[in-house]
């Protein structure tokens, strides 16, 4: 018997993708059936949305600030320091706001979901739930997926805003730019396509974070070590998929809505 079988490994990977696709589909299709766990969804929205607010605000603010600081040198060389607001606004709304918020929420919540559901799996609580006639995908997965998708949308908006405020702090206090000029260029330079792109990404990222966190949690096996492994894998997979899907969404939307 071979120690290393590429066929077996490939089969396992394909099965994994198939199981994930099935879970992701059920997390959405459950919305059209009963029961719906509204209270659980609100509770998850609080945990994910309000709970992630501090890290999202901090990340957004300092990213906007460092963006203004880093680009000021280059802009000054071309005598375009006044475009700082536009640059920060473009970068935050189209790209950095959604991606960094997604990565922060993935780090905090994909791992949290995987460890919570993984612990329930290895202590037979998931089986107990099924044994009592309750569908774990309806009770546990769908509320998390919906809450994460909706909350990441709003968290990204907050991140964009505080990012712009961070850029303004640097522009006003260190670069000596006029406040009115900064906010006017930041606001006027944004077009529908930029905002649409910035608000589409968090919807996809939120879905990926929660569905991947739940998938790894529900697939956990092998006691506490298995839960630890599932937690790490969930965070890594969610983060990588955010970055990869970001490229494809950007390319797709640039084609659909030209600037």
């Amino acid at each position: 018997m071979p120690v290393f079988s590429p066929v077996e490994i490939a089969k396992t990977q394909v099965e994994g993708v198939q199981d994930y696709a099935r879970l992701a589909w059920r997390s959405i299709s459950n919305l059209f059936g009963h029961p719906r766990y509204f209270a659980d969804t609100v509770m998850q929205a609080d945990l994910i949305g309000v709970g992630s607010l501090p890290i999202v605000v901090l990340t957004g603010f300092f990213t906007g600030a460092v963006l203004a600081l880093q680009t000021s040198n280059t802009l000054e060389q071309f005598g375009s320091l006044s475009l700082t607001g536009q640059l920060v606004s473009f970068s935050m709304v189209r790209e950095l706001g959604p991606v960094l918020t997604g990565l922060m929420v993935a780090g905090r919540n994909a791992s949290g979901m995987a460890s919570e559901l993984g612990s329930m799996k290895v202590t037979e609580q998931i089986d107990a739930m099924r044994a009592m006639g309750v569908d774990p995908t309806k009770k546990l997965v769908t509320p998390r997926v919906i809450a994460c998708t909706v909350m990441l949308f709003f968290l990204s908006i907050i991140s964009d805003l505080v990012g712009l405020a961070g850029g303004w702090t640097i522009a006003f206090f260190m670069l000596g730019l006029d406040s009115n000029q900064y906010w006017t260029t930041a606001y006027q330079s944004l077009k529908f396509g930029d905002v649409f792109m910035g608000l589409s990404k968090p919807v996809v990222f939120g879905f990926l974070i929660a569905s991947i966190g739940c998938f790894y949690g529900l697939s956990a096996k092998g006691g506490t070590q298995g839960v630890g492994r599932a937690t790490t894998q969930a965070m890594v997979a969610a983060s990588v998929l955010i970055v990869v899907s970001d490229l494809f969404i950007t390319k797709l939307l640039m084609g659909l809505i030209p600037s």
């Binding site: 202590t123 037979e124 006639g133 309750v134």
Partner: protein, 280 residues
């Protein structure tokens, strides 16, 4: 060792053919190695079956198959007239509502209180704990003699208390079939006896059909030689000279097959060398 005389007096009546609540027909399942190979047996209404066998022979697997938590590779499993082996997961939830299960490690939801755990199925239907549900919870907790624990969390309970709460959770909706997975595993003899008394009480008071997995022969024979006396409100041995139906039979698994199925008396009289060694 078991009270042989009491066991011989405690004979199960012959089951009627049409009142089966659980049926395994030629069920096989394999993981890396075959675990069950063509297992067939029936459980009739109001009867109890005790599954015995060495570790790894597939006893817990049978309970999980009976609940539809796992699918067999071949064979049919019928629970309460539904062939669950061919049902979709979404359709199984309805069948499972009529079956209660007590898991080996209790499997209580650690983020919920004892009351929320016990009332879990009822809360699913109503969405909240009503006064009626609270009363029902207290009633089943009284049955397992843990009435005062309702506001506590599972972490505040001992292992034996958690098993009793798990029993309360399983019986709150009075299911037609109860599955017990080593309910006394890892417990001291006194606590084990308390648990077995609850199992016997459920069997004799509510006439619930049950399938029980255990490693403790003493518990199995206690079930086969005792009944629950409502007047004394406790489990008592079948009196000498009296024949009483205790509705309990035994199944022994070995190497994926059922090597014995019958009453306690037949088990004690078996000449099979493996069974003799197992009982010794």
């Amino acid at each position: 060792m078991a009270n042989v005389e009491a066991i011989e007096k405690a004979q199960p009546a012959a089951p009627a053919a049409d009142n089966r609540v659980l049926c395994f027909e030629n069920v096989s399942i394999a993981f890396e190695e075959p675990v069950l190979k063509g297992v067939s047996f029936e459980l009739h209404s109001g009867k109890s079956k005790i599954l015995l066998g060495a570790a790894g022979t597939g006893k817990t697997l049978i309970l999980k198959l009976a609940l539809g938590l796992l699918k067999p590779d071949s064979g049919r499993i019928i629970v309460l007239n539904d062939e669950i082996s061919s049902m979709r997961e979404e359709d199984l939830y309805e069948v499972r509502r009529n079956v209660g299960m007590v898991f080996q490690e209790s499997a209580l939801f650690d983020s919920l209180t004892v009351e929320e755990n016990v009332a879990y199925r009822l809360i699913e239907e109503t969405g909240k704990i009503t006064d009626e549900i609270h009363e029902k919870v207290l009633e089943v907790l009284r049955f397992v003699e843990l009435e005062k624990t309702w506001p506590l969390s599972p972490a505040e309970l001992s292992g034996g208390m958690r098993r009793r709460v798990a029993i309360a959770r399983a019986i709150i909706t009075q299911p037609e079939v109860l599955l017990y997975d080593s309910p006394t595993g890892g417990l001291d003899p006194v606590t084990s006896n308390t648990i077995i008394e609850l199992v016997v009480k459920q069997r004799d008071v509510y006439k619930t059909s049950s399938l029980l997995v255990t490693h403790r022969l003493q518990d199995a024979f206690t079930m086969a030689s005792h009944y629950f006396d409502r007047d004394q409100n406790k489990m008592v041995p079948v009196p000498p000279g009296k024949t009483l139906d205790v509705h309990t039979t035994f199944v022994i698994l070995r190497d994926g097959h059922i090597i014995f199925e019958g009453t306690a008396t037949e088990l004690l009289r078996s000449t099979d060398p493996y069974i003799r060694e197992y009982l010794s």
